[in-house]
């Protein structure tokens, strides 16, 4: 491409120089290249048009490239301008100087003295010839009288006589119609005499004689004298006598020389103006062609120079777009060629690096997927946070444990989880506070209340460190240890109850038997007073042993808490059945039910829940034993709590309520204010409710009395058979 461009450029240049040189040569030597002149000016004009068209095309292309902001276009424009300015300046100087030289040079060809000398020479020659002609005319004019009264024959004789007596070459007698009457010549083999032309006749008709010097065919000169002869007496027409005199060769030669020199000089003077214009035209043509060639060459070389730069820019763009396999052909061995080769090496290395990175990324991605798979199947919830405590990743177990869709909070602050869910507000606040307080690893048990009920979460935090040991975030691991803790607690309390039952119950029987034996043996042998004392003491021992036996039975019952048998059941039915047992059996007890007209299904063990209600009613009745009458209100309803439907049971009484110190420990075992109570009633109730994934709260009513609130998850499924058997128990 570049090579062929150079060849075309060379051809254009050679054509340009040849055309201009020929043009200049033709101007100087028209005889040799004169026939080419008709072609040269159009050829040069065509070249001019060709260059103009090529430049116009290139300029238009450059304009479009500039408009499209193509790489290298501005550099091309700058190079073209530089080339044009560099090339034009000397050409313009030479042009201006040449114009001046032509103006002055052509004028210097003509010398006033030479011109005057030539004019003088012509005047001298003409004077000399005029003198010669006048002499001949004076000699010839009297001879014409010899033809007066002659006829044609006599005229011929007279002509022959005159030819021999004079120096005339030819004598001819014409009539008024330009017909030859008689003629004679000193040389016998000459052509017919030339007739008189119209201008001669005009002069003769005006009464003048015709006297002139004429050129002849062999380059010499002759003198023609024509005299008008008056008409004869018997004739009406005039006759004309013509004398042709030769001019000596030497005089002819000198005359011709003067004539030629003067003619050429005069011609040059006349052509001075057009000659200058011609030179200026050629110079202007050369200037125009030179400048246009320079401009065209500027475009060409700018393109050649900018081409690698443009390819480099495009290559850079391709690399920026990720096309690292982009290669640029190295066409030159100069600095730009080295730059292109360096670029190719760079892209090759980048390509290798990218491939390596891609492989590593695939490895990392595989590892990430592997870890994600493991995390997804972990029973623990795992959540990663960045240094601003925004959630970056979380596995599915996290959602299960927290009871929310944690994916909605990816790339959001952890606090947003608490803001979106009231049940997690305290949890998230605790976690965030802990994370902000310490960058060490920590572990904490936190409680949340989800749709599945209260949960105890073991939360662990591990800090993630960057390469410079700076904190980059942390990983939170959640474990739902609710079941575990419950089992541990149940197991501990069961063991306590079992040991208590075992350790206390075993000595009770010997104590009772011993007391009864003492009474039976001693009573008959003792005085009445002493017998009464023994009777009273043994009675007390036996009574306390029986009381302790009952207490041991309660412990045994708590320790032997059977596994619940969950079935769907209607809470309304359960409450009505339990309440029915208390109607009419006790005085001063009023049991009010406020039940929902609709069925309130929960999934639970009817026997255990019945025990809950018995314990609570019994507790209320015992709490109001000192009052005038006992009023117990039991209500049940379905309520939305934390966007989940719950069955709420409230048990109210009109007793004294819980004291402040008891209120927080009401559900702990052995916590009681009653003299005969063992403190296990509410503990068992709480245990049963929690086993049903519910919660139980105690509080005091504002109007006096206590309030027990139970929330059990609602059960809404018609697929399972509802346990109606509770009504029969």
């Amino acid at each position: 491409m570049v090579r062929s461009g150079k060849i075309w450029l060379a051809i254009l240049f050679v054509s340009l120089v040849a055309a201009v040189l020929l043009m200049a040569d033709v101007t100087q030597n028209g005889s040799y290249f004169g026939r080419l002149h008709n072609w040269l000016l159009p050829i040069n004009s065509a070249l001019l048009l060709l260059f103009t068209a090529l430049i116009g095309y290139n300029a238009n292309q450059l304009k479009r490239q500039l408009k499209r902001k193509e790489p290298g276009s501005r550099l091309t424009l700058r190079l073209v301008w530089s080339f044009v300015v560099i090339a034009s300046m000397p050409v313009l100087i030479v042009y201006t100087f040449s114009i001046w030289l032509v103006e002055e040079g052509v004028d210097s060809w003509f010398d006033v003295k030479v011109e005057k000398a030539l004019q003088d020479a012509v005047s001298l020659s003409r004077s000399s010839l005029d003198l010669h002609i006048r002499n001949l005319s004076q000699q010839a004019e009297p001879l014409s009288k010899k033809f007066e009264g002659n006829d044609s024959f006599n005229a011929t004789l007279t002509i022959n006589e005159l030819l021999s007596s004079s120096n005339a070459d030819e004598i001819v007698l014409f009539d008024s119609n330009n017909r030859i009457i008689a003629s004679g010549s000193s040389e016998p083999n000459t052509d017919l005499p030339a007739l008189l032309d119209e201008s001669i006749f005009q002069r003769l008709s005006s009464g003048e004689n015709y006297v002139a010097m004429e050129p002849i065919s062999d380059g010499g000169l002759q003198i023609r004298l024509v005299f008008s002869m008056p008409p004869e007496l018997n004739a009406t027409e005039s006759q004309y006598l013509q004398f042709i005199y030769p001019i000596p060769d030497r005089i002819s030669e000198l005359t011709n020389n003067v004539q030629t020199a003067f003619g050429q000089y005069n011609e040059l003077i006349y052509l001075r103006g057009p000659l200058k214009q011609n030179f200026i035209l050629i110079l202007t043509l050369v200037l125009a062609l030179g400048i246009l060639f320079a401009v065209f060459t500027a475009f060409y070389f700018s393109r050649v120079l900018v081409s690698p730069v443009r390819e480099l820019v495009e290559g850079t763009k391709a690399v920026a777009a990720g096309q690292y396999h982009k290669k640029i052909s190295v066409r030159q061995s100069d600095d730009l060629g080295m730059l292109v080769a360096s670029f190719n090496r760079m892209t090759e290395r980048l390509s290798v690096a990218r491939d390596t990175t891609a492989i590593n990324q695939r490895i990392i991605e595989n590892q990430r997927l592997y870890l994600q798979k493991i995390l997804e199947h972990l029973s623990s919830g795992v959540m990663s946070l960045d240094e601003s405590l925004q959630i970056k990743t979380a596995n599915a177990t996290t959602s299960q444990i927290l009871g929310i869709n944690i994916t909605e909070f990816i790339n959001k602050p952890l606090m947003d989880v608490g803001a979106g869910h009231d049940s997690l507000k305290i949890f998230t606040l605790s976690v965030v506070t802990q994370l902000r307080q310490t960058s060490e690893e920590w572990q904490k048990e936190l409680e949340i209340f989800t749709s599945e009920g209260r949960k105890t979460i073991l939360c662990k935090s591990v800090t993630l460190l960057g390469e410079d040991a700076s904190k980059r975030g942390c990983v939170l691991v959640f474990d739902d240890i609710t079941t575990l803790l419950q089992a541990q607690r149940d197991s501990a309390w069961g063991e306590v109850a079992r040991r208590l039952a075992h350790e206390i119950k075993n000595p009770l029987t010997p104590i009772q038997l011993s007391a009864e034996r003492l009474r039976r043996k001693l009573m008959p042998v003792l005085e009445p007073e002493q017998a009464s004392l023994v009777d009273k003491a043994t009675h007390t021992i036996v009574q306390q042993v029986e009381s302790m036996g009952l207490m041991v039975d309660d412990f045994s019952a708590y320790a032997r808490m059977p596994v619940i048998d969950s079935k769907p059941l209607d809470i309304n039915d359960l409450i009505r059945n339990v309440a029915e047992l208390y109607k009419g059996n006790t005085e001063n007890v009023r049991l009010d039910l406020s039940l929902n007209s609709e069925t309130l299904f929960v999934r639970g063990d009817s026997g255990r829940l019945r025990q809950v209600l018995h314990n609570l009613i019994k507790n209320s009745m015992e709490a109001t034993a000192t009052e005038k009458y006992c009023q117990v209100q039991i209500s049940a309803a379905a309520q939305l709590y934390l966007n989940k439907l719950y069955i709420t049971i409230e048990v109210l009484d009109n007793g004294q309520g819980f004291s402040a110190e008891i209120l927080n420990q009401a559900f702990d075992p052995y916590m009681t204010t009653k003299q005969k109570g063992n403190g296990l009633g509410l503990a068992i109730v709480k245990k049963i409710i929690e086993e049903h994934n519910g919660i139980i709260q105690v509080s005091n009513r504002t109007c006096g009395g206590a309030m027990i609130l139970i929330r059990l998850p609602s059960y809404n499924s018609s697929a399972e058979v509802i346990d109606r058997s509770v009504g029969g128990r």
């Binding site: 101007t27 032309d197 002139a212 004539q259 011609e267 011609n278």
Partner: protein, 193 residues
């Protein structure tokens, strides 16, 4: 006396094109064919023509300064064609060169074809001489057939190519230096038509 049309016309087309491009104004008519007729004598077509020369002042001035001016009068017999340009059957070119000799105060007319020259005391008489053709033989009547239609035409022009180079370049840019007459056309009527 007559010749078929050669390709010489092609040689002058660049000048013609350039002249067309560069002409700035239409000059007054300097050459005019005022009279043109023909006759058949002894089987030959003889033409007679009268051309009037009213040369521009620039040309007269050039002549008076010793510049030789060449004129060419062209006579053509053409057959008409419907689609293609008319075909030149016979053609005669008469060339004259006029030059003024200041020393002898004569206008010399040269006819290169005849190698003849004549002198005239005035330019008018010289132009009158070259503008007149009497019974010039164009060719034989046998060149004409009954199947085609023919016509004769005549035109005179100044030959720019024979001007001195500086004037020749100037003549490309002004029509004053390129005087040419219109074609004078006469129909050739066949016998019995």
């Amino acid at each position: 006396m007559f010749e078929y049309k050669s390709l010489s016309v092609l040689k002058s087309w660049p000048l013609f094109m350039l002249a067309l491009l560069c002409s700035q104004s239409l000059a007054a008519e300097q050459l005019r064919v005022s009279r043109f007729f023909f006759d058949t004598v002894a089987g030959q077509i003889q033409i007679s023509c009268q051309i009037e020369y009213s040369l521009d002042e620039k040309i007269i001035q050039a002549l008076e300064n010793g510049i030789a001016i060449n004129f060419q009068t062209t006579y053509e017999l053409l057959s008409k064609r419907k689609v293609l340009p008319d075909k030149v059957i016979l053609k005669v070119d008469q060339r004259f060169a006029i030059k003024y000799y200041a020393l002898i105060k004569q206008y010399i007319v040269r006819e290169p074809a005849l190698r003849a020259e004549r002198s005239f005391v005035s330019l008018q008489s010289a132009l009158a001489y070259i503008g007149r053709a009497d019974r010039l033989s164009l060719g034989y009547v046998t060149s004409i057939t009954a199947e085609a239609n023919y016509y004769l035409r005549a035109r005179s022009r100044l030959i720019n190519g024979e001007l001195p180079l500086p004037l020749r370049v100037q003549s490309y840019f002004t029509k004053d230096w390129r005087p040419v007459s219109d074609w004078r056309i006469i129909e050739v009527v066949k016998d019995g038509a």
